[in-house]
């Protein structure tokens, strides 16, 4: 085995793993606060992949501006989804299963909408970066991958700061441990939930943009959420740090496995390992287990 190739695969894998980490954290944030699996996150990813494409292709061909606009669009989309679809159910105190069904439905709605309207074509982003690769010794790192990793790192760092240090972050964490009590302390829980959805949507928007930029845009980009969900399980549901580590690990493992045993067997090995992991250590890397509360 050639060590250079091995190292090269790990580097590629970690870059993609950064995006998995973004998805895992965006998914986990909502799981933390409302305790349900938010499949509509995949819908936000698909939606923003298209938004990013149309902005950069037809409005302004500037990477930074379109990137930021897409991130904000993702945040707003998530807030709108929360308002229209999740809040009415939450207000009436319906069971969590209703939230899950609605989130699955939103994911389906977005995917099918784009499949019907724009599904016939593939869309590619304009080339922002002259495809120049960096050569570090014997390694070749594509700039786009490096940029992806850098953006993921900065965004996740910023999110960690907000969650840990700011007032709204504290409110989100309070709502995560108990959604009812903070309202007794004068916290506007509806607002906190909206903000959590906004953050999650921003992460989704960034994910959509990066995925769209790296690959082509089609209605099924949102299915990549599966990778984020897997990373989220490995990391321990809802833990930011765990999600990041697991995302990077998953990216690297996937890239290595594809190199060694081929693209067909890789998903089977990965899902098989997940099932084993749940048998041995269901709480994942971060070691936090979400108990069912009375």
């Amino acid at each position: 085995m050639n060590w250079n190739i091995l190292l090269q695969q790990i580097v590629n894998g970690i870059s993609l793993g950064g995006v998995y980490a973004l998805m895992a954290v965006g998914f986990g944030l909502i799981f933390n606060v409302l305790k349900f699996s938010n499949f509509s996150h995949g819908g936000v990813v698909t939606l923003t992949a298209y938004v990013g494409f149309f902005l950069s292709r037809y409005v302004i061909a500037n990477f930074i501006i379109t990137f930021l606009l897409t991130a904000v669009a993702g945040g707003l989309a998530a807030v709108v989804i929360e308002r229209l679809v999740f809040r009415p159910i939450r207000r009436k105190g319906y069971p969590i299963s209703m939230l899950i069904v609605n989130s699955i439905t939103v994911a389906m709605l977005v995917q099918q909408f784009f499949a019907v309207t724009l599904g016939a074509d593939y869309y590619t982003y304009p080339n922002f970066i002259k495809e120049t690769a960096l050569h570090l010794g014997s390694l070749t790192v594509s700039k786009i991958y490096l940029l992806m990793l850098g953006i993921s790192a900065v965004v996740l760092g910023a999110l960690t700061y907000v969650i840990q240090k700011t007032k709204i972050g504290i409110a989100i964490r309070a709502a995560s441990s108990d959604i009812f009590t903070p309202s007794l302390m004068g916290v506007n829980v509806d607002f906190v939930v909206s903000v959590a959805f906004f953050f999650s949507g921003v992460l989704g928007g960034i994910t959509g943009y990066l995925l769209g930029m790296t690959f082509t845009v089609d209605p099924f980009v949102g299915s990549m959420i599966l990778k984020g969900i897997i990373a989220s399980i490995i990391g321990g549901m809802g833990s930011i740090l765990g999600g990041v580590i697991a995302g990077l690990l998953l990216g690297a493992a996937e890239s290595l496995l594809i190199g060694e045993i081929g693209a067909a067997l890789t998903p089977m090995v990965i899902y098989g390992s997940i099932i084993l992991l749940l048998l041995v250590r269901p709480q994942g890397i971060a070691g936090k287990i979400t108990e069912i509360k009375a």
Partner: protein, 279 residues
């Protein structure tokens, strides 16, 4: 003739929906990997028949057996954990089955799919199966076991405090549901006569759940009605068929917000307990 054909295909899907209803209606578990079980059932029966010359009834039985076994294996690590893990792992399972079928191309024909099964399934067998499955589901719901399961669905913690073995109950229901779904898959293979790995992706699995909720978790009749309407819709309204899923999604969101007991609440045979909270 045309209507009979529509009824046949619609009823085929209704069997799959009933498989989901068994599980979600009784224990509140969601599986996004039902498509995986459909594929497993379809491929098991088809491979047994075509490659190993197993007679059709035996091939059906084999499909049911393999489906139940797969359900058991997936259930072991996931059913002890929070429901979300079950949901997420079954989501992965569907994709895993798809990847597996593509990988085992020598046996399964890979992306080209499998054809060449003789037509062994017709309307009588399908409708008969629906009747039997409905009867089993109904009896299960009325039995002590079924009531225990509904208690688990409504409040898992309280149910376990009352001495109900939550894990064992969920496991039994999941195995029955997997077997039913695999059976539906096997019928599919010998009715439609062509199967391929991408036939049942996560979207198809999601639709099964969604239709169950539109019909109402407490109403077998409602679920069958919802399934019949949805799956025959495309045949009668071809001009807007492509928008079918978008329309379904919008309807579902409205139904869940405004009529959480399901569109056909009035058809339910048991009192609605959906307003009660479980978590």
């Amino acid at each position: 003739m045309f209507y009979l054909k529509v009824l046949e295909i619609t009823s085929l899907y209704t069997i799959l929906v009933l498989g989901v209803y068994l599980m979600t209606g009784l224990t509140g578990l969601f599986s996004l990997g039902q498509g995986g079980f459909v594929s497993i059932g379809a491929y098991t029966a088809a491979i047994a028949y075509l490659r190993f010359g197993v007679p059709f009834p035996l091939a059906l039985a084999l499909a049911v057996l393999i489906g139940a076994l797969l359900g058991f294996l997936v259930g072991i690590p996931t059913l002890r954990l929070r429901r979300d893990y079950f949901l997420l792992v079954t989501f992965g399972l569907g994709e895993m089955v798809r990847a597996g079928l593509l990988y085992l191309a020598q046996l399964t024909g890979g992306a080209l799919g499998m054809a060449g099964m003789p037509k062994r399934v017709g309307l009588p067998l399908i409708l008969g199966s629906i009747a039997v499955i409905t009867f089993i589901t109904y009896s299960l719901k009325r039995s002590r076991f079924g009531r225990d399961c509904i208690a688990i669905r409504d409040d898992e913690l309280a149910a376990s405090m009352m001495g109900i073995n939550v894990y064992a109950h969920k496991m039994k229901v999941f195995i029955i549901s997997s077997a039913t779904t695999a059976y539906g898959g096997a019928l599919y293979a010998f009715d439609i006569l062509f199967i391929e790995p991408n036939l049942f992706n996560w979207l198809e699995s999601a639709k099964l759940i969604i239709i169950t909720f539109v019909g109402g978790l407490n109403s077998i009749a409602g679920v069958i009605a919802a399934s019949t309407i949805y799956y025959s819709f495309g045949e009668f309204f071809r001009f807007i068929d492509v928008w079918r899923d978008v329309l379904l999604a919008v309807v579902v969101i409205l139904v869940i917000i405004f009529r959480p007991g399901g569109l056909f609440q009035g058809l339910s045979l048991l009192p609605s307990r959906l307003r009660r909270k479980w978590r």
